[in-house]
Symmetry: C2
Subunit: 286 residues, 2 copies
């Protein structure tokens, strides 16, 4: 029907981001600084454990130190916050990532807010969110930033286009909506209460799926020629988009796996190096 869709290869974008980090990590090494990311995993959710392991491995391959902190499922909010405060105070640690979701007895928002803004490499604090919304955050949330990085890498026009975001979470749907708005897209944010969702999705020149439901976005919801970005990652390695059907309609599309996921991890590494460089800069001024 339409010409063949461009596959937006996340591995290519991630490799480009990481490539550019190597020299910077080298530069930090010359100042005896090793960028260091601390990840906190509470409980034993197997997919969360996999993510944390992938992030740790990605750090290692690039020469970024990673500290992994595993806390038991029954951890309280207070105990988690105490752990975060220790990492805030540790000069060796440049970035802190609290893997979510956390077990339900924990006040996730309170835990996120405990992260010091200069170590909030996943942009989860309220202040980080607002700075991103206003367009001057050091560390926008990694998945939204990855989506923007893919659009940038493949030079997909955003200004004036109609972007439809499905999802409104504080770390994905809302920040990616605001980032696309700041890139001069007209932005519609949809969610579970949206009436006539198909018709709304059909408005989109750019579609961001951030629902957390496997193959939720159907091929016939997509305007021919739309650009489809799938931020979902569900059991069985499937995204939020019915890839095969959407592929027939889209002008460009991210696969799952090897789409947004690897770019999210690369963005996390980049933010950790950014944070380490800021520390280096402060040191050199002192």
């Amino acid at each position: 029907m339409t010409a063949e869709a461009l596959i937006l290869d996340g591995n290519v974008v991630a490799a480009d981001i990481k490539e550019k980090l190597l020299e910077r990590i080298q530069g930090l090494a010359e100042q005896a600084i090793v960028p260091c990311l601390a990840t906190i995993l509470v409980g034993e959710d197997p997919s969360s454990a996999t993510y944390v392991r992938m992030k740790g491995n990605a750090c290692k391959r690039l020469g970024i130190e990673s500290i992994r902190i595993d806390l038991p499922t029954e951890t309280t909010t207070e105990q988690l916050i105490e752990t975060i405060h220790k990492l805030n105070a540790d000069p060796k640690v440049h970035g802190i990532l609290l893997q979510h979701p956390v077990p339900e007895q924990i006040d996730e928002r309170a835990a996120f807010e405990a992260i010091a803004i200069e170590k909030d490499v996943d942009g989860v604090t309220a202040l980080g969110f607002a700075q991103n919304a206003f367009g001057y955050a050091d560390f926008p949330s990694c998945t939204p930033a990855a989506i923007v990085a893919i659009l940038d890498y493949y030079k997909i026009p955003v200004e004036g286009k109609h972007a439809v975001v499905i999802g409104r979470s504080p770390i994905l749907g809302k920040p990616v909506s605001l980032m696309l708005l700041n890139k001069n897209a007209t932005v519609t944010t949809c969610h579970s209460k949206t009436e006539n969702l198909e018709d709304v999705v059909r408005l989109g020149d750019i579609i961001v799926a951030a629902v957390g439901k496997p193959k939720f976005i159907q091929g016939d919801w997509i305007k021919p020629g739309a650009v489809v970005l799938d931020a979902g990652y569900n059991k069985g390695n499937v995204g939020d988009v019915d890839y095969d059907r959407c592929l027939e309609k889209a002008s460009a599309i991210t696969p799952v796996p090897a789409g947004v996921g690897p770019v999210t991890i690369a963005t996390l590494l980049k933010h950790t190096v950014d944070a380490a460089e800021k520390v280096a800069k402060r040191k050199s001024i002192d």
Copy 2:
């Protein structure tokens, strides 16, 4: 054509908000607390001066103290921030309002950020913005909160509806978009770079005009039966909406004047009383 539009009378909504404040102000008086709003006006912009005067008068009529601070046009960012810090430290002051726009040599964002969160009754700080975006702010920006108050007062259904916001400023377009999203509307945010603006506006069941251009929104841009909220206030007492033409198409509409404006002021008074009550509560716990 359509049945006659309901006029969303801001004076009625404002009177309702103020009515409910009287008893609370009385209750504070019994604890020897007088709610107090400090307004800062930098320079001599005549409309800004009018707004500040209106706010001061509204305070007086209700028994809220208002302190007005006038700073010269050539005030620096540092001088303005120093003034704000003094007000932050003054236990008599419960709310701080920096009238904007400020003269161009001032870093407005830096000045806003200097306001202590517990006195940020107009929701201008980044933290206040994010708390509002996440749905738990004490003080959402007053104009967005006024728009929501009008919808609530007139029991206009929002959930599932398509709201179109024209404007994306940090204190109006963005926060009202997020508030409507949190009330379960599907929200589209438009701006100067939006392509085919008329078609996008025509999608809206609820339209919020926050453009700052007189009579910008045309009658034939409006879907028949839409609800139109005009947050604009331009020279000659006209809003951002071509009221007469939109009146013919809308099911409900705010006039200008006597629409969003008076509710914004009533919301500011309410936030000041809220802030004073929080201080009273802390005192009673001490």
